[in-house]
């Protein structure tokens, strides 16, 4: 039984380390701030989640495991808050998402696509859309 827990913990910690590296590389390779937020959220959810689950298996049923659960809950509640605040701040500051258009083959981007986005931003700023 100990061996099973040890192997599971190995697998979870190495998977978490892998996803942390994936997120960090993505933050360097993605083209603009909105796509980089996607890479950063990989670190916050999958990377931290797998890593902390592996550490919980190592800790067993102790106070240390409870503290690790608290850290995991902290990530799950603060991550979306920070992502939302960052995306809204970037949009209202006028940063254009460069990958916003629908680029599926055979699909023409219509002016409505970008018009709807501009209205959304204007509504956030408390202005009436024209």
């Amino acid at each position: 039984m100990d061996l099973v827990i040890e192997i599971a913990s190995w697998g979870l910690i190495l998977t978490g380390s892998f996803f942390i590296m994936v997120g960090a590389v993505g933050m360097n390779r993605m083209p603009d701030v909105f796509t980089r937020m996607h890479a950063a959220s990989v670190i916050d959810t999958t990377g931290a989640g797998f890593l902390i689950f592996g550490l919980i298996l190592q800790a067993g049923f102790t106070l240390v495991a409870a503290k690790l659960v608290f850290i995991l809950l902290l990530f799950f509640f603060t991550g979306p808050v920070v992502s939302h605040a960052l995306a809204q701040a970037a949009l209202t500051a006028g940063v254009e998402p460069i990958l916003a258009d629908d680029r599926r083959p055979g699909h023409q981007a219509t002016p409505d696509d970008t018009a709807g986005r501009a209205e959304g931003v204007a509504a956030e700023q408390g202005e009436q859309p024209a």
Binding site: L14, S17, I20, M21, A24, M27, A48, I52, A89
Partner: protein
């Protein structure tokens, strides 16, 4: 052994994220990278605590997690209004 591997992965990820904080063209890239540095510091504290057999460092990790949220929101508010004590009626 696996704690050492996880520590190395987190340190390499920290180097990459810090390079994004230095390169990042807009201030939002830097704020995002700063938030990720905080997340990785929490994970590093937890893993190094297990590596050295002293998991009590998790208390520091929890504190750092709370500070990270407040710090990032304060930076975003500062760069939106140019002031942390923004008052709508002043128009400042």
């Amino acid at each position: 052994m696996m704690f050492a591997a996880a520590t190395l992965a987190i340190l390499a990820a920290l180097a990459l994220v810090v390079s994004r904080a230095i390169l990042g063209p807009t201030v939002f890239d830097r704020a995002l990278a700063g938030n990720s540095v905080g997340t990785l510091a929490i994970l590093l504290l937890a893993v190094v605590g297990f590596l050295t057999g002293r998991p009590e460092w998790l208390d520091i990790a929890i504190t750092y997690g709370l500070l990270n949220l407040i710090g990032t929101l304060a930076v975003l508010k500062y760069f939106r209004y140019g002031d942390l004590a923004y008052d709508d009626e002043d128009g400042a």
